[in-house]
């Protein structure tokens, strides 16, 4: 099976082809190592950083922006959202603070991406 991948490593947008052969993946169409690595990662284990918000109690804002501190498997994005939607953090919160450890056993922590003061 051959899969087409548009490289996102730079604006060039190389059309990379990845073929699953008996001798492993055959990758063509890339113009740099970054592109080759990207294509291989996309084929074998596509991952994304997930960014969203969680509900906050007593904060100056009602929601807190968060991210996974490392990329998680792409097919876990929506499942993680379900988990994220259940969380209620409590102000004050500091940037980098872990809101949920090892979310859904992805190995990634969900961390706050801003300071959020307590409502006076």
């Amino acid at each position: 099976m051959i899969r087409d991948i548009t490289c996102i490593a730079c604006p060039l947008g190389c059309e990379i082809k990845v073929e699953d052969t008996e001798n492993g993946y055959l990758i063509t169409g890339y113009t740099c190592k970054k592109g080759k690595d990207y294509a291989l990662q996309e084929i074998t284990d596509p991952r994304r950083i997930l960014t969203s918000t969680v509900a906050v109690e007593d904060g100056v804002l009602k929601v807190l922006p968060v991210k996974t501190d490392k990329a998680i498997p792409k097919d876990m994005l929506l499942k993680c959202m379900e988990e994220i939607n259940k969380i209620k953090a409590k102000a004050p919160i500091y940037v980098g603070q872990v809101i949920k450890e090892n979310i859904l056993n992805t190995g990634a922590n969900l961390v706050a991406t801003r300071n959020l003061a307590k409502k006076e």
Partner: protein, 479 residues
């Protein structure tokens, strides 16, 4: 039991309420919308026409001239934006010039003051940016521009200061005579008893008339499409600039607005549905074509909004003001299309005369004649600004950065008589969202303020009508 009930809180209903509130009467206004000024009054050319256009001998001719005079006094008493900036009807050929002569003669007969036919030099002197192809123009010093929203709000606010009661979201669904009064029933099931009933339901005036069995007229709505241009290109003209009128209407105009924008339009196309206020490619193209003929250098790419409004036109052509044959004491105001805005204070006087046939009118001795507008903070002098800030810290916070509107103005718009309950209501009263960003920045803040001041959840806040909710819910179920 009311002495008088007015159906419809557009500019005519509101002006009527204000006129009648001078007398010892118990008055109610029933409005089907979520706020006043949501029909034809909210979307029109915002012009107080001079009165030379409507044919001599018609009600339109008479009431327009009278109305235009009254605006000068009322805008002072009630402190709403009105500018007697004058108008020019441009002629480009012999045929147009002949039409100008006719308008001029007709205007004189109607009693319009300040009419003159002027030549090219004088035109270009007054308006250097109109087309060089112009040959003659009819100048009318009595024509002006007005904010139709704030005129309506001013009328209704002052009417309420003088005891008029306003009922919103009350759509009238039946009217019948019982004993010596009229019984008015609404969709919600409310019943109102009144001696006199005024049908100023605009686009829906035929349907209200029919509830009483009156079938003398049928509203055939005509849609007008417009552009509003950014303030920065508005100094291109100083007067209301008209094309020579045709049978279809007064034609396309290019005019400054009282808020410093430029309005360009309208078309005049029949539509089947009274609520069909869609803008169309065809319509706007037509507006552009004629407008560019008048003012070739017009920067149409500085448009901040296109919109359309429907006029309550009827086949008879003239205003049709008549007492119901079936229900004595009910007055129908039919066919109030252009110049309805200009005529509204004069229509109100007609209504007053009608009421006086049934009820002996005595003037209130505590009538409050004046009403103050919500101050536009940014237009005040530094001293005046400091003065307001001392009294009210809400004026410190600018919410709308395009129009420089403070939170104080917005809060006041909410808490006045017939105050704003919707995002569009705020916009029409104090203008956040009518600037070039069209609410992109201030939108979330307006929701927050409305929610706080009216104590309703953000999810329930409407743009304008029921069903026009701005947000559909919270992002996080747990909130």
């Amino acid at each position: 039991m009311y002495d008088c009930i007015i159906i419809g809180a557009g500019v005519v209903g509101a002006a009527t309420a204000r006129e009648l509130s001078k007398y010892n009467l118990r008055i109610a206004v029933l409005e089907k919308g979520t706020e006043v000024c949501q029909g034809t009054s909210k979307a029109n050319s915002a012009i107080v026409h001079g009165g030379y256009d409507a044919a001599y001998g018609t009600l339109k001719g008479k009431l327009n001239v009278r109305g235009a005079k009254l605006y000068q006094k009322l805008s002072k008493e009630l402190n709403f934006s009105y500018d007697k900036c004058g108008s020019l009807v441009l002629a480009f050929n012999d045929e147009d010039e002949k039409k100008l002569e006719e308008l001029y003669e007709n205007g004189l007969k109607n009693g319009v003051e300040g009419l003159r036919i002027i030549d090219k030099d004088e035109i270009l002197n007054m308006e250097p940016n109109v087309s060089q192809d112009v040959t003659k123009a009819l100048y009318c010093s009595e024509a002006g521009i007005v904010c139709p929203f704030n005129a309506t709000f001013a009328f209704i606010e002052n009417a309420m200061d003088n005891g008029v009661e306003l009922f919103l979201e009350e759509k009238v669904v039946n009217i019948r005579k019982e004993n010596d009064y009229i019984l008015v029933g609404t969709e919600k099931g409310s019943e109102f008893k009144t001696k006199i009933l005024i049908n100023s339901a605009g686009l829906y005036s035929d349907e209200i008339a029919e509830l009483a069995g009156d079938k003398e007229f049928k509203v055939k709505p005509r849609r007008g499409e417009y552009r509003i241009l950014d303030k920065k290109v508005s100094d291109i003209v100083n007067h209301v600039i008209f094309t020579t009128p045709t049978k279809a209407g007064k034609g396309v105009l290019v005019s400054p607005t009282v808020h410093g924008n430029l309005i360009v339009g309208p078309t005049s196309d029949p539509v089947d549905d009274k609520e069909d206020t869609r803008t169309t490619d065809k319509g706007i193209e037509k507006v552009d074509e004629v407008a560019l003929k008048l003012v070739p250098k017009l920067s149409l790419n500085e448009t901040i909004r296109v919109f359309a409004g429907n006029r309550a036109s009827i086949e008879q052509g003239d205003f049709l003001i008549f007492e119901s044959k079936n229900i004595k004491g009910m007055l129908n105001l039919g066919g109030i299309d252009s110049p309805g805005l200009a005529s509204s204070p004069a229509i109100a006087e007609e209504v007053r005369d009608f009421v006086s046939k049934y009820i002996d009118l005595t003037e209130k001795n505590n009538f409050i004649k004046e009403r103050q507008a919500i101050p536009h903070f940014n237009e005040l002098s530094d001293e005046e600004k400091e003065e307001i800030l001392k009294r009210n810290p809400n004026y410190k916070k600018i919410i709308c950065r395009c129009e420089m509107i403070t939170e104080g103005e917005i809060i006041e718009a909410i808490h006045r008589n017939a105050g704003a309950r919707t995002v569009d209501g705020i916009k029409r009263r104090v203008r956040p969202g009518s600037g070039r960003c069209q609410g992109g920045f201030c939108g979330p803040r307006i929701l927050e303020i409305l929610s706080r001041e009216l104590d309703i959840p953000v999810e329930d806040i409407l743009k304008e009508s029921q069903g026009s909710n701005i947000v559909v819910g919270r992002t996080k179920g747990v909130l």
